[in-house]
């Protein structure tokens, strides 16, 4: 079957067209009229989508540093002052009030005193950067990390915060970062989804499908949730009907569709649907081979912690191994979630309001060894040279304990994320919170800036990558964002 030219595309397909061919075909026609004005040299760029192969690789806007992304997302707001943001002043002023915070009402209410981390910070790596004993294996990799200590969010509620960090909007209904990237760049392996989300073994994260949804982008660009425990839904019939029957049914269907197509010569939507069944059949082979960890050596399983007696750590480790296998196979965007929805405060995720130490003592080891192994493994295999590794969470936590509790309330005014790998300066620390780790004071950085930088590393101009929806040229970064050029290697 020949690949249809874009002029055969449906209305839905046309909505995806890039500006050049859009103008070539429609510049003097009906649909082009209104949009010409925008399509100047600095106007929006809509990737050109082939309806028969929506995940085919597409060129970025300029030479990229990274070809793909692995993001570890810690759901529940992982505390910066207990992990990456070292504040000696917090130790010195332990037990004293946070200056200027007498009447401070945060998410759950009033604040108690400044409280030092229960985890000791010590210098690590060659650079000697201090990180805490909560995550020692990741800490040992500080020389590869580029920290942003001055992240800020717009909200201090988990759902909207997680949605903001993953879609650029606090509201429901917008495409996730991974969906934007798949829309822009397609995939290097059409036989696997372009964007895979790996939810924590404990369950889906708090914002659930918002984190990997396609929003108003076509469904082809949604993240496919799977993990080492659960494969792609409907990859095979639930009770095998036998290979011969499967093949015969497919053959008959193909013949039926070809005969039908003969009555509609040149109709690309029909052709694309025939092609989608062929691709589905190939996925039935390629997905199990990607998700089968049986080929991994015992040493690898051990390094990641997949042999751990803690089923949660072993499960998260398997997801991390899976992430590496997917990246190796050309999947464009892999997002690994650590922490699930709220099952009680801080029980299933990093939301340590009431008993931070007890909860983080559980969560830290689940994250640390597998995530560190993933970063090392990617580097060892040379994949880090063109893979961007991102660690993120939705917002930070207070340097104080909550009044009458042994944990920290939400804090969107300052938190830490870090990048590693392709195109990123490391070891490097950008921005800073105040002396207590409360509010970003040096280079305050927005989620928009964070997203703009990720897109930039992938060779995409965040101000131009665009999709028309409901009257607006939509962007991941809305009307905001600047690339953090200081972070670029």
């Amino acid at each position: 079957m020949s690949s249809p030219s874009f002029r055969d595309l449906s209305r839905a397909g046309r909505a995806l067209l890039g500006r050049r061919s859009f103008l070539a075909h429609f510049g003097s026609g009906l649909a082009g009229i209104a949009l010409q004005r925008l399509l100047a040299d600095d106007g929006p760029i809509r990737p050109e989508i082939d309806a028969a192969a929506p995940l085919a690789p597409r060129a970025p806007h300029f030479a990229p540093k990274a070809k793909r992304v692995v993001m570890i997302f810690c759901s529940g707001a992982c505390s910066q002052v207990d992990t990456w943001d070292h504040k000696p002043e917090l130790v010195k002023r332990h037990g004293q009030p946070l200056p200027g915070a007498d009447a401070l009402i945060t998410f759950q209410g009033e604040q108690g005193a400044l409280t030092q981390s229960p985890y000791m910070f010590r210098p690590r790596g060659e650079c000697g950067k201090h990180t805490s004993d909560l995550l020692p294996q990741l800490g040992a990799l500080v020389d590869r990390m580029c920290f942003i200590h001055s992240m800020t969010s717009k909200t201090n509620t988990h759902g909207p915060g997680e949605t903001f960090m993953n879609t650029g909007f606090t509201l429901d209904g917008f495409p996730s970062v991974g969906a934007w990237v798949s829309y822009a760049l397609g995939s290097e392996n059409e036989e696997l989804p372009a964007f895979v989300a790996l939810p924590d073994p404990r369950g889906v994260p708090q914002a659930s499908v918002n984190d990997w949804g396609n929003g108003f982008l076509p469904a082809a660009f949604q993240g496919t949730p799977l993990n080492a425990q659960g494969p792609v839904r409907h990859l095979a019939p639930p009770s095998g009907s036998g290979a011969a029957a499967e093949a015969a049914t497919r053959r008959f269907l193909a013949e039926l569709n070809e005969r039908h197509l003969a009555r509609f010569p040149g109709d690309s939507e029909l052709g694309a649907r025939i092609a989608s069944y062929e691709l589905a059949a190939r996925m039935q082979l390629s997905v199990p081979s990607a998700t089968d960890l049986g080929a991994e050596s015992a040493a690898t399983l051990r390094e990641y912690g997949a042999d751990s007696s803690d089923p949660l750590r072993a499960g998260f480790a398997r997801n991390c191994i899976l992430a590496r296998r997917l990246v190796e196979r050309g999947v464009r965007f892999v997002q690994v979630f650590n922490g699930a929805y709220a099952m009680g405060e801080g029980v299933g995720n990093w939301d340590g309001h009431k008993a931070l130490k007890e909860q983080y003592d559980v969560h830290g080891p689940i994250l640390d060894q597998p995530a560190a192994a993933l970063l090392r493994d990617l580097e060892r295999r040379g994949l880090l040279e063109n893979t961007l590794f991102v660690w993120a969470t939705e917002f930070g936590r207070m340097p104080t304990f909550q009044k009458g509790a042994s944990g920290r309330d939400h804090n969107p005014r300052g938190f830490t994320t870090w990048l590693a790998g392709a195109g990123v300066k490391a070891p490097f620390s950008y921005g800073a919170t105040d002396e207590f780790g409360y509010a970003a004071v040096e280079h305050p950085t927005s989620v928009y800036d964070f997203h703009a930088t990720i897109l930039h590393l992938l060779g995409l101009d965040h101000e131009r990558l665009s999709y028309y929806h409901n009257g607006i040229e939509r962007r991941l970064t809305d009307v905001h964002g600047k690339v953090l050029t200081d972070l670029l290697a």
Binding site: D8, L38, A342
Partner: protein, 862 residues
Amino acid sequence: MASIALLLSVVGLTVGAPLRDVDYEAEVRPLLAARCFGCHGPERQKSSLRLDRRAAALRGGDSRTPALVPGDGAASLVIELVSSADPLSAMPPTGPSLTADEVALLRRWIDEGAGYGDAAPENDTQLPWALTPPVRPELPAITRPGWEHPIDRFVLAGLAAAGLEPAPEADRATLMRRMSLVLCGLPPTPEETRGFVADTAPDAFQRLLDRLLGSPRYGERWAQHWLDLARFAETDGFETNTPRPNAWRYRDYVIQAFNADLPFDRFVLDQLAGDTVGVDVATGFLVGGPHDTVLSPDVALTRQQRQDELADMINVTTSAFLGLTVACARCHDHKFDPITQTDYYALQAILAGVRHGERTLPSTAEGAAVRRAEPDAAARPAVSALLNEEAFAPRVASRVRFTVLRTNSGTEPCLDELEVFAGDVNVARAATVSTSGDYVGNPQHERQHLNDGAFGNARSWISDTPGRGWVILDLHEPTRIERVVWARDREGVFADRLAIEYTVEVADESGAWATVATSEGRAPLHDAAAELASLPRAYAGRFEEPAPTRRLYRGDPMAEREVVAPDVPRVLGALALPPDAPEAERRAALARWLCAPDNPLTARVIANRVWQHHFGTGLVDTPSDFGAMGGAPSHPKLLDWLAVELVEHSWSLAHLQRIIVSSRTWRQSSAPSAAGLARDAAARLLWRFPPRRMEAEVLRDSILAVAGTLDEAAGGPGFSTFAPNDNYVRVYTPQDELGADTWRRMVYMTKVRMERDGTFGVFDTPDAGQACPERARSTTALQALNLFNSSFVLDQARRFAARLERDAGSEPAAQVTRGFDLAFGRAPDVGELEAAVLLVESHGLAALCRALFNANELAFLP
């Protein structure tokens, strides 16, 4: 604002003439062009600011601070920024700073009035086409026999201009299938098709059309189009995504509106102000969107959440009815359409009294009957699981104690929220809570839920003692209070654990308790559960008289500016309401204005939507954007003709359906022609009927109909394909084994926001996070996997096979023939029959049925 700008411009032009003025053309423009216009000129307008036009510079950019104050250079933002020492704000941001002479020149020019001379371009103020009311256009001449229908005359004129020929008429079986799928969303039965093909009476086509428009299936199909626009879902969205068990009533209202051919102007009024005309359920439209129920004592956050809620209501109202995008004007004047920030907040003032939530339906027959049956007012009403108010003479209190002495169920009492009001401020939110003891082991029932602002069982408190318990609220500071409001479950799901004997006491700073209310004197509780069941409730919002609406600087809820009266965008008209008009009146006025004779948009927008759902693409292909960034209409006069026709026929959408379906344009074959594909591949000019893949609902419903398992039960609570879950953050896990209760039409599938059905969701079903005016139509391998391998499809394939055995006996050829007839409305050709029989003989009849369910012929509108 506009009038001030105008005034200033007059002042500037008249005053700025004496002595030797700075010459704009010769001195100022070259400087601005070199250093400013690159970002603030004709090509780009960073921060929405342009300096090459006087009016724009006077208006200012996103900050809404005028860049120039004619006559006062020192007070002008431009001078402040070009002379700023702060590298973050100084202009220009790159290159050397302006020299002192250059700054002085600009300053003198502004002091002299900031004249732009005669040559400077000014804003053109011509109204866009869509803002001019439609008038019935003259019909193009008849150029071809049989193409006399008004629609056909417009379409044929367009085709002739492009040198294209229309397609011949489709065969009758195809027309039957098309009409059934477009109007009712289901394929016709073989018997219906045969009957129509054989019916040679001249009015056969019209009778079929009338029959389908009269079918209950018609409303079920067309309601879905509207529900997409209304971002309708039956859960809150956001983190908790809590179900709205009574949201389905709005869905049923929409279905009934289409089935009854409710005039569209009435449909508009119902949905915006149904409470004023006895159709309470219809305001479910306003609150159909997401609702963030996780509240916090943090004021900025709470205001932001409220602003987001209102933005959702404003956006859905303007995009659904007016086809205008006003969302951007929340922070700054619209860049492309004549919508100002003040217009946005004027719209917000119309909707400012709308709150998310349920209310009882007093206007329904059931509701009225229940009200009549209530005991008369001699006694206070019995306690209600839904809401109770204890009003008392205002008094200063430091503490409030609510003591439960007995519950209706005898089990531990439950309060979902305890509110204490000083005026309309709930001071309980900032209080500290203590209790007699808390229910152990369930995070849904912790004490902090008593004053967390979140309602419903999932955020409630339960005591640790059967039948008894107390709560003390230590108020933030001594406050004059007058009212305590409490409930067992404001969401109306639970009615057990209800306090039926209780006291409410307050203590002032002395610490002495005084009783202000008790359960004494209340009518006896009959049966709280029965009460709940008998009072129909709907997720249709709650209304309250709002505080004055203020414009928010850059949309920041903490940066309030001047009061804005409720109104429609200035460029479109005016409602002439005072700022304190009753809120229901505001909404009703908006609805009346939307359907007033001189409104240029409403009729065009809905006529275009009806057209879109026939031909796949609207005459305007950006159906919710008729603004400057929207698509130009392919047939502008046809659109106006349809709009006028609709209004003149009492806004009857069924009339519009009849007109469209009766045209030759609609009856064309969908087979492509080389010339058509070459010149107009998308068939915008309608040289054929454009075929397309049908939506998820049609695919699922068609499979059930063909298998003979479709349950046609209409209305009522929906069915779910997710596993039950009652975590307070809901988790929606698709269920694989689906029983007969899920074989209803998909419009009755409980719509979970953001989560899509595990099998059909990948067919571009909207997520109801944002309004969906037009579904994407993507083709993916995951769709193929779901349709080929899901247990739903395989189960239905087996049932289809069983049906074929019942209908056609055991002979494979007869089974195949019946299968093609049911699935495609035609007999197999010889090759197909042979291949199909072979498949049946080798791998069983269900294998054939599975293939038929996956065929393009089933999935596409012919």
